[in-house]
Symmetry: D2
Subunit: 80 residues, 4 copies
């Protein structure tokens, strides 16, 4: 091959390499972005579940208090 | 005693007897009235208690349904 | 009438009067007893109703607290 | 430059290009995987919220029924 041909091939390879590296940077940015979204979505989800667990405990105590009220009514009905 | 004295005593006794019998009738009427009030008050009370027992059963079923709802929420929180 | 006849009538009237007065005392005792039972039944009834009114207020507050819990759940579902 | 130098540069560029393209494929695979995880996490989340909305409606109806029960008790207490 002639020196010109080598030169042309080198230029072409260099361009391809630059394109591929650019594409790489874009992909890495997208990946970083997605990872952050996934992580913040999981944090949100944990906070949401924590709130729901508090609600569940509150519901438990309300059911317990309604059951006490029910027992008081039952005793009133038996005792008289 | 003379016949006049006997006559006077008889009249007095007859009056006393009439007064006492009158008082008797009044008392019997009051007694009848009170007995009726007591009976109707007990019937009312029974009806009232019957309604309360229905409410108690309804309250039982509502507490049961809230407990099912609570269990569904707990399973949702565990299962994900 | 002879003195004997008057005497017999007087004895008879006196017995009748005693029987009627006795009956009177029995009726008054029954009346007093019934009045006491009616009164104590009304006191019981008032105490019973007072307890039920307390239960009603308690039920109101439980319903209010369940409604707050419901609103918290609704906001959790909207807000995320 | 000599032909040898050009040849060496061409080989080096070709290797770099291959590495970068390989890295690209890895990144695209990771990206595809992450996107799928994010999507399935959102589907899960939607299903979860749909279940919670059903629970909210159920809770609404239970609160409504407890309020009806409360009104019945209030009427019983007024009416007698």
């Amino acid at each position: 091959e002639s020196a010109n041909e080598f030169q042309a091939q080198k230029v072409s390879l260099t361009h391809k390499l630059q394109d591929t590296e650019m594409r790489n940077q874009v992909l890495e940015a997208q990946l970083g972005d997605l990872e952050q979204r996934l992580e913040s979505s999981q944090l949100e989800r944990e906070a949401f579940r924590k709130s729901l667990r508090s609600l569940l405990e509150l519901l438990d105590s309300k059911i317990f208090e309604l059951t006490e009220l029910r027992d008081t009514l039952a005793k009133l009905l038996e005792g008289s």
